[in-house]
């Protein structure tokens, strides 16, 4: 049996009469990148928010790193969340803090005995990783979209998570910057040996990063396979993504 870092079974989540997830299943093997494709409003972001319990699912089970996330109390959940990184669509940088403070913020709350030298060294390393050491003292409002994404990525990885959840990592970026972000994600994944779930509707992201692609449609895992397997699929909903056919 494969060593899965995430196992989701029969996940259901509704908002009123809108059944966003309706029995969704997913396994993420260790070290793999799973890209979840789906139309806007299909429940992709809801899925990863359920994994870290930003949203409470209605039914189903979510096991992360061998532990049932839905049965955890608040403290256990916080400990688990340190092992899961989450890159938000709009980076969600704390806009009252400088870039350096943004990166120090999670460290100071989990590694209480970290010295100033160690913290500075980690922040500098994280900023070097994303090529933005010079931006350490800038405010988020002074950064471009691509820079914000890079800083968001640096902040996500600073606690060395074992799993990273990416919510639309290239949305709102031009194709060149989007490609740079994807390459950065791949480099850092290899460097820190993380597993990831990447939510996207960008086929370039899927092609470049995916070990496995999942098509989320009608709240279910509609199709799953490698990028090339799904490319050869005759299924209408899968073809919509690959060929833009409606």
């Amino acid at each position: 049996m494969a060593d899965n870092v995430i196992e989701i079974k029969g996940l259901k989540k509704s908002f009123g009469e809108n059944h966003v997830l309706d029995g969704f299943d997913l396994n993420v093997p260790r070290g793999n990148n799973v890209v979840v494709l789906g139309k806007s409003g299909s429940g992709k972001s809801v899925l990863i928010k359920c994994i870290v319990r930003l949203l409470e699912p209605d039914e189903g089970s979510i096991t992360v790193l061998g532990e049932n996330v839905l049965e955890m109390d608040h403290d256990e959940l916080d400990r688990m969340r340190v092992r899961i990184g989450f890159l938000f669509q709009n980076s969600a940088l704390y806009d009252s803090m400088t870039v350096r403070e943004n990166l120090e913020f999670p460290m100071r709350r989990h590694w209480f005995d970290i010295t100033k030298e160690d913290a500075d060294q980690r922040v500098n390393e994280a900023l070097e990783n994303v090529g933005l050491l010079y931006a350490a003292d800038m405010m988020p409002a002074d950064l471009s979209g691509g820079m914000r994404k890079r800083i968001g990525l640096a902040r996500t990885l600073i606690l060395r998570p074992e799993i990273v959840l990416y919510d639309e990592p290239t949305t709102g970026l031009d194709p060149i910057t989007g490609r740079e972000i994807v390459e950065l994600i791949m480099d850092l994944q290899q460097k820190y040996n993380t597993s990831s779930v990447i939510i996207s509707h960008d086929m370039q992201v899927a092609r470049m990063t995916a070990n496995s692609v999942v098509v989320l449609a009608d709240g279910k895992n509609h199709a799953q396979g490698t990028f090339d397997q799904l490319k050869a699929s005759t299924d209408t909903q899968v073809k919509q993504f690959y060929e833009g056919v409606t």
Binding site: K49, L54, D78, F88, A92, Y94, D95, S96, P106, R109
Partner: protein, 269 residues
């Protein structure tokens, strides 16, 4: 016509019911939020650095506005009261009257209302914008407790800083009242302060000081509640800021009313 009257009555009952439901929802929500404040606030670890930063923002940065308002308030009260007191030949009571009015009621309430506008709206807008830009979610998923970091510190800072602002506002109002008195008379500062302190007792100062803690708490908790529960979008942020001011102002008057009844019961009036 009968059916029409019944339909209108039914419609009006429906809207009354939904208004009541909204009020009860709001009261229930704020009560639950307050209970959570005490639960999270008592649990270590404490965010001392952020608390100090919030005390600086809420206390120090509100000083100019509170100070100017207090000075104008003291001056206006003095100048406007003088003709009436003169009619009764009681202008020598002016310092005492202003002191008791300012210390017991006007100082704390006006300062609290000014702070509800400045601090309440600022907290509501800041947390509301953090909510809609997913910054609060980002804290949550990094395993940090955003309630402890954002809410507990702001509510505590507002609770601790408001009495300080009230004392400073009282002082400034009385000083500007001294200037107001000297616009038409010549009264030495020593005589003026003697009259002020002779007229004041602990029972004037203490209840006013204690209730200003409650005012600060109400401003902080309402601002945080509105911001933390902001709906999506910029319109939601504006609504959070606006309703934080409205609800906090209303809460200040209700607390004031309760405080008056309470001090009356204790025989402090």
């Amino acid at each position: 016509m009968f059916w029409r009257a019944n339909v209108f009555t039914f419609g009006s009952n429906m809207s009354k019911n939904s208004a009541w439901k909204e009020i009860f929802d709001e009261v229930g929500g704020i009560s639950y939020f307050t209970a959570r404040f005490f639960r999270e606030g008592l649990r270590p670890r404490y965010e001392w650095q952020e608390l100090l930063r919030q005390c600086y923002i809420i206390g120090y940065k509100s000083l100019p506005l509170v100070g100017i308002t207090a000075a104008i308030m003291g001056m206006v009260l003095t100048v406007q009261s003088r003709p009436t007191l003169e009619e009764f030949g009681a202008e020598s009571w002016l310092p005492s009257m202003v002191a008791i009015s300012v210390v017991r009621e006007i100082g704390p309430v006006i300062t609290a209302l000014i702070c509800a506008g400045k601090i309440g709206s600022s907290i509501g807008a800041e947390l509301g914008s953090m909510k809609v830009t997913e910054q609060i979610d980002a804290m949550e998923v990094s395993g940090t407790n955003p309630f402890k970091y954002l809410v507990v510190t702001r509510v505590l800072a507002a609770t601790l800083m408001l009495p300080v602002l009230v004392v400073l506002a009282d002082g400034l109002a009385l000083y500007s009242s001294y200037i107001g008195v000297n616009l038409k008379d010549v009264v030495s500062f020593k005589l003026y302060t003697n009259q002020v302190f002779d007229s004041l007792e602990y029972s004037d100062f203490l209840p006013a000081f204690v209730k200003s803690y409650f005012f600060g708490f109400a401003i902080g908790i309402v601002g945080c509640y509105k911001g933390f529960n902001s709906k999506k979008g910029t319109e939601g942020v504006g609504h959070s800021a606006n309703s934080a001011v409205v609800v906090a102002s209303l809460a200040i008057f209700i607390i004031d009313l309760i405080a008056v009844q309470f001090t009356d019961l204790l025989g402090l009036n």
